[in-house]
Every structure is written in C-alpha cells, then in structure tokens.
C-alpha cells in the first residue's frame, strides 16, 4: 500500500471520531491567531476591566460574611467588658490585710511597728 492510499483510506474513519475532534479542526492558523488577538483586545478593553472589578467585588462580598463578623465582634466586646467588671469587683472587695504592702500597712523601714499594726488588725478582725 502506498502512503497516498493510506491517506485516502483514513478519509473513511468513523464519523464519531470526526465529530469528537470538534469544530476547531480544519481551521486556518490565521483564524486561531485572530481569535487570540480578539481575546487580548477584549481583555484590555474598559468593559472587560469593569466587569472584572465587578466580579472581584462580588467575590469579596461572597467571601466575607458580615453577620458572622459582627457577631464575633459583639462577643469579644461583651467578653472583655464582663472580665473587666469581674476583676474590678474582686479588687474593691478584697481585704486590705490580704495585701498589706499595697495598702501601706507594712512599713518596711521599721519591722516592729509593722508587726504591731498587724497584731492590732488581727485583733480587730
């Protein structure tokens, strides 16, 4: 068999195979190049740029769930406030005798006086 005969014979391959290869086959190179150019022009055009920005904004909106963020922020604020309140309450109700240095009950320069004051305090309690 000659190569020409084989080429002719290949003309008889299944239509299913031909259909699968698709519309693009048999297209001239010029058309493919033009198609690429059009795509580039389209990309550079303002319309496409605008639509790209719109798409980006859409993505941004979809990405962030504002309700969830607001709920998380509220939880943080409530948590911080309640912890602060609890701590301040604890400080105000604490016995000065529990922290004598801060309350000025201890005079580090005269330990005897300090001891006396502590004994008095204990007696008062």
């Amino acid at each position: 068999m000659k190569k020409e005969d084989l080429f002719e014979l290949l003309g008889e391959i299944d239509e299913g195979i031909l259909n699968e290869t698709g519309k693009s086959c048999g297209m001239e190179n010029k058309e493919i190049t033009n198609r690429t150019k059009i795509t580039k022009n389209e990309y550079n055009s303002d319309k496409v740029q605008e639509s790209a920005v719109e798409t980006r904004i859409e993505v941004y909106h979809h990405k962030f769930n504002w309700k969830a963020i607001a709920a998380a922020a509220a939880c943080f604020v409530i948590g911080t406030v309640s912890v602060t309140l609890v701590l301040s309450k604890n400080n105000s109700t604490s016995n000065p005798a529990d922290n004598p240095e801060k309350t000025g009950l201890i005079n580090t320069k005269s330990p005897n006086q300090t001891l006396l004051r502590l004994i008095i305090l204990q007696a008062m309690n």
Binding site: M1, K2, K3, E4, D5, L6, F7, E8, L9, L10, G11, E12, I13, D14, E15, I17, L18, N19, E20, T21, G22, K23, S24, C25, G26, M27, E28, N29, E31, I32, T33
Partner: protein, 187 residues
C-alpha cells in the same frame, strides 16, 4: 440552519440550500482544501466542486452529518487535485510531510492487496485502534491525518509545543503499525 433542514431542502431540490451550505461550511471546507492543496485558488476550486457534488449526491444520499459529508468530499477532491499537481511536478507543499509521516505506518515489503474487502477490514481495524487511544491522542491523529493540519495549527489548538505534537504523533504511528502487524496487516 439545522443540517437536517438543509438536507431536506436538497431533497426538495431547493437551490438556496447551496447558499446556506456555503455560508455555514465555506471556512471549514476551505481550510481542509488549503491544508492539502497548499494553494488558495485550488482550494476555492475544490470547495465549489464539493458544493456541486453535494447537490448531485443528495439525493439519493441522506447524510447523518452534513459537515462530515461535505468535509469528506472536499478532502477527496483536494487530495485528487494534489495528486494531479504532483504528477505535473507542481508539488512541494507542507502536505508532503503529512504523507511522509504516514509512510512510517507502512511495511516496506507490504502487500499490494487493494481489494475493497481488504480496505474495509483495514479501516475497521484502524477505527478500533483509534477508539482504543486516549481522546487527546485520537484528536491529535485526526487533526494531522484527516484534516492535514500543520504542526503549528495543532500546537496552537491543543496548547502544546510543535515538538511535543510531533513526538506524540510519532508514537501513535509506531503503535498503529505494531497494532496492524499483530493483526496480520502488513500494509
């Protein structure tokens, strides 16, 4: 317009069908013809002749795919024109390389059996082989050896380098030759 309606128009001998076919498939047919003849004028002549052939052959034929039908006619006409131009020593286009590549599938001491039965059996085997290939390889083979697309076009279409396409096609040809040899076809 739908292909079925165009075929109906042809069956009703409505001449406007040719105009519709031309609008729909002129580019497609021109590309096939130009790939093979390598010449714009020859390609246009082939395409016009193809329209004529379609007009003459439908009816009695009722092609399921008008695109494939007219594509095949154009391919055959373009190939005949190429053969004529070769005999007149006007050849020397890029289509020569397509044929040279196909020669690799042939056995050097191949049989010269060219009966219709033999050819039918052979094309059946080739079809089976093509169906056994992955889809992308099959498309590559059809682009090159049915549409006679250039390596440049193929590389652009499938997003691969020309070298990559050439290597893939060479592997397919080797496989095809082995496949046919295993089945007793020493073509």
């Amino acid at each position: 317009m739908d292909d079925r309606n165009i075929v109906k128009m042809l069956w009703n001998r409505d001449e406007s069908a040719i105009g519709i076919i031309s609008d729909k498939y002129a580019k497609y047919c021109n590309a096939i013809a130009r790939n093979i003849t390598g010449n714009k004028e020859d390609a246009e002549e082939c395409v016009n002749e193809a329209y004529q052939k379609v007009w003459q052959s439908v009816p009695p034929n009722k092609p399921p795919s008008l695109k494939n039908y007219i594509g095949k006619i154009t391919r055959n006409l373009a190939f005949n024109m190429y053969a004529r131009s070769c005999s007149e020593k006007r050849g020397g286009n890029s289509f020569d390389s397509v044929l040279d590549e196909l020669e690799e599938c042939l056995h050097s001491s191949g049989d010269d059996t060219e009966s219709e039965f033999y050819k039918k059996e052979l094309i059946k085997e080739i079809n089976d082989f093509l169906w056994s290939l992955p889809s992308d390889k099959r498309k590559l083979f059809v682009s090159r050896y049915w549409y006679a697309d250039s390596m440049k076009d193929i590389s652009l279409r499938y997003g691969i380098s020309e070298n990559n396409a050439a290597v893939s096609l060479q592997r397919i040809r080797t496989k095809l030759r082995k496949y046919l040899n295993e089945r007793g076809y020493n073509i």
